[in-house]
């Protein structure tokens, strides 16, 4: 290995001074005397593999340039990350996920304020749920708005709020219109909306894991013709809850306990917070219960 012979420890100090313009790239006269540290570093350097014997030292100019570039880029990328993580609370929810998770008709009001910290956000749902939830299903605000869940072949499915007296056509419009090619002949667009109902316009193939009627409306609060009468979670007795598939006396009691503890259910999804009610059981129940 010629490299080892050239840079190796055979001529340790001599090599450092003349053959290598690298480790000691300053004229010998400029260095008063090799300090202990320098000698130690040179010995380490000699013992490295050939590929690591080279120029290690930065000069002042490149060091300054490197440090400034790193600082500027760090500020830019960090600032960009902060900017992208910018979150804020928007007024009334207009789009929900495809779950009637928030059927609460409780008027959240137009907060407008930006919730910057996680503290205020985390305090919100838990703290607010208790005192206000009992009035959740009450038609207190229903005199001015109806809340409907519009699902299926519309541009923006989800839970929407509309003025009382709105019709199905208004709901379709508010959900961004129907997707092209949707057959609407069997949907009575002139029907007036009831608070808490779900309007299903077609269905994405297989999205619900089973055959779904192409176009149908299911008035939520008036029972369903094809299903057994749904159980109202906030008013059901223990016996009624036990009629649900997979719910025995113990689980029914826990559901009642949860309701007693939290006042009421403000969404069907909260059933999952009941101890012992797992995801699969919830999936079986979620279409059989109402608030």
């Amino acid at each position: 290995m010629s490299g080892n012979q050239q840079y190796g420890c055979g001529h340790r100090h001599a090599g450092a001074d003349d053959a290598l313009p690298t480790w000691a790239d300053t004229p010998a006269a400029a260095r008063p005397r090799p300090t202990r540290l320098k000698l130690f570093l040179e010995r380490i350097q000699d013992r490295l593999p050939v590929t690591l014997q080279g120029r290690w030292r930065l000069d002042r100019r490149s060091g300054t340039v490197l440090a400034s570039v790193v600082a500027v880029v760090a500020l830019i990328t960090g600032g960009w990350a902060l900017f992208r993580a910018q979150s804020h609370q928007v007024g009334t929810p207009h789009t929900f996920a495809a779950d009637p998770a928030a059927h609460s008709a409780r008027h959240t009001g137009p907060p407008g304020a930006r919730t910057q910290t996680s503290e205020s956000a985390s305090g919100g749902p838990a703290g607010a749920a208790e005192p206000e939830a009992p009035s959740g299903a009450e038609p207190g605000s229903a005199s001015t708005v109806v809340v409907v869940d519009i699902e299926g072949k519309v541009a923006k499915p989800g839970v929407i709020r509309l003025p009382t007296g709105s019709r199905v056509m208004d709901a379709l419009h508010a959900a961004g219109g129907t997707l092209p090619g949707t057959d609407l002949t069997s949907l009575n667009q002139a029907r007036m909306l009831n608070d808490g109902e779900q309007v299903v316009v077609g269905a994405p193939a297989g999205a619900n894991g089973g055959p779904v009627p192409q176009v149908s409306t299911r008035p939520g609060s008036h029972g369903k013709a094809r299903l057994a009468a749904p159980i109202h979670l906030n008013t059901a007795t223990e016996e009624q809850l036990e009629e649900l598939p997979g719910v025995g006396p113990a689980l029914a009691q826990r559901i009642l306990d949860w309701r007693g503890e939290h006042g009421s259910f403000s969404s069907v999804g909260q059933l999952q917070e009941v101890r012992g009610l797992g995801a699969s059981k919830f999936a079986a129940l979620r279409n059989l219960v109402l608030l």
């Binding site: 440090a67 790193v70 495809a98 779950d99 928030a102 959240t108 956000a121 749902p125 917070e273």
Partner: protein, 547 residues
């Protein structure tokens, strides 16, 4: 014996190493202490630079390079710590971490950012001597996403921008395909439970979903084209036996969606698993095949470069553009470019610069094993492989063995201290397995990409090419399975930090021994000083005895 130009340029190594450490610490700590520490480092660095400048003014020749290097290192570390602190602050910002802490049920609007990954249910034996492992009867599908909207169950609605992972629990078989068919850049509505992420990283939360998502926005044009081509390759390979049909897409474009799990395990145990994750290697194989083809088609000069450029872009899209892909591509392109042409002279500098740039863009990389492994492997290729290859050639080993053996051994040796922390064993079989399997990898990659292109044009042709491609794939599978079964394929070694440190200590010991032995041999050969020679041999023997 060999051409030797300037000594290697290693000036970037200390700042980048310190910057990496600073990023790592900055991500592990809360932002406030990191910012204070970064400020302190920056002040020290600036003061040192000012001192060096003043002294340089006093003595025009008396620059203080060591101090300058140290100060630059401090300043770079401070910059990267600042970036890490800002990223951590961004991650813990907003309502999502708070909602995750209370396991809230939320409705979310998401954008998919990566490929869905399927985790099969574990059906372990019911506690028959085996450690009690929780059995999971549900299939899980993990999808990396970015949350754009959150609605809590009491109706509050936030616009956010947090990275997260969706863990979809599959209850209905029909749902599984919906989740698996998701493409990056699709927009979804998902309802589920937000919980804190399992391990530290960029994710602000894990979203557990039990129902199929609702797709509200299609994938971008590029992603849907890439998804279509990947589907073409799977289709072309569908006529092959199950194993080959699963491995061919993995080898060609890193599509591991159908890879059999036991083979994945065998590949891991024989140190071949890097072949089936997407990396720059596939790109190099593909361009090695393309360039002669382009010349044959009559392209010259710039046109060939242009074709290569298009290939790089196309392949990056196919294999999913994203931090892992970019990182792998950058690292292996650099490594191979250095190994092929300029040997080692500027390469280490370039790789250090690449690490710096990648860490600045995405500090979370500093925490990922994948990033550390790529850097370690590339460093191995640059630092150790050239010398080892030369030594093997000097001993008369033919190049086609010496090349793969030296590169895989170097990469393996440099990666092993990281790998051993969770594997708890040293795969001794890796080097021979690689020497055997590596020649088949480019053939399989190129034929796989060819099958994909052919299937797009005319499916029967695609099937024909895939049929040819199955033979190199079979060879790699055979090597992996045989290697994994061989006795002594792996040696047990402590795992965790202790394993890593003891392995590093073993390396240092072995290196010192080898170096001493080599010096002794050289001294003997040169016949300069018999007395010194005899002394060296004596030292050598005592050295062996003492270690």
């Amino acid at each position: 014996m060999k051409r030797r130009a300037d000594p290697p340029d290693l000036r970037l190594l200390p700042p980048v190493a310190a910057g990496w450490a600073a990023t790592w610490l900055g991500l592990a700590l809360p932002p406030a202490p990191t910012l204070v520490a970064a400020g302190g480092l920056a002040l020290c660095g600036l003061y040192g630079m000012a001192q060096a400048r003043r002294r340089a003014a006093d003595h025009p020749l008396g620059v203080e390079p060591l101090a300058v290097t140290a100060c630059t290192t401090l300043l770079v570390a401070a910059g990267l710590a600042l970036s890490a602190a800002l990223h951590v602050a961004a991650g813990s910002h907003g309502p999502v971490p708070g909602l995750a802490a209370q396991s809230a049920i939320v409705g979310t609007a998401l954008t998919v950012t990566g490929d869905p990954r399927r985790i099969a249910p574990t059906t372990g034996p019911p506690s028959s001597g085996a450690p009690p492992r929780p059995t999971r009867r549900l299939t899980l599908i993990m999808v990396p996403v970015r949350i754009t909207d959150v609605t809590t169950s009491d109706g509050t609605h936030y616009e956010v921008g947090d990275s997260a992972t969706v863990m979809a629990r599959i209850h209905a078989p029909a749902d599984e395909q919906i989740w698996l068919d998701l493409l990056p850049s699709q927009h979804l509505l998902v309802t589920g439970k937000l919980v804190p992420p399992r391990d530290a990283g960029r994710d602000a939360a894990l979203l557990i979903a039990d129902r199929a998502p609702q797709v509200t926005g299609g994938p971008s044009l590029i992603q849907s084209a890439a998804g279509r081509l990947r589907a073409d390759l799977r289709e072309a390979a569908s006529g092959l036996p199950a194993e080959e049909a699963g491995v061919l897409p993995a080898l060609a474009v890193g599509d591991t969606s159908h890879e059999p799990p036991d083979l994945a395990d065998a590949l891991k145990r024989t140190g071949l698993s890097y072949l089936v994750v997407v990396s720059g290697e596939n790109l190099i194989f593909a361009s090695a095949a393309l360039i002669p083809l382009a010349r044959w088609a009559g392209l010259r000069g710039r046109a060939v470069t242009g074709a290569g450029f298009l290939l790089v872009i196309g392949f990056t899209v196919l294999a999913r553009p994203g931090p892992p892909m970019v990182r792998a591509t950058v690292m292996s392109l650099l490594g191979c470019a250095a190994a092929i042409s300029g040997r080692r002279f500027r390469a280490l500098s370039t790789i250090a610069a690449a690490v710096l740039v990648l860490l600045l863009i995405d500090p979370w990389l500093a925490l990922t094993y994948g990033f550390a492994l790529s850097v370690a492997a590339t460093a191995g290729l640059l630092i150790a492989a050239p010398g080892w290859c030369d030594r093997l050639l000097d001993r008369g080993v033919p190049l086609w063995i010496a090349g793969p053996a030296a590169t895989t051994a170097a990469a393996e040796v440099f990666c092993e201290p990281l790998l051993v922390t969770f594997s708890g064993s040293l795969p001794l079989i890796a080097v021979p397995a690689n020497v055997l399997a590596v020649p088949a990898a480019p053939v399989a990659t190129v034929l796989g990409i060819g099958a994909m292109a052919a299937d797009e044009v005319w499916p029967p042709l695609g099937h024909a090419v895939a049929w040819v491609a199955q033979w190199p794939v079979r060879w790699i599978c055979l090597v992996a399975r045989t290697g994994a079964r061989m006795p002594g394929a792996a040696v047990a070694w402590p795992s965790g930090l202790g394993g890593c440190l003891s392995l590093l200590a073993a390396y240092v010991g072995a290196y010192a021994l080898i170096r001493r032995a080599r010096r002794a041999r050289r001294a003997k050969q040169s016949h300069i000083n018999h007395r010194v020679s005899r002394g060296q041999i004596g030292l050598d023997k005592t050295g062996v005895g003492s270690v």
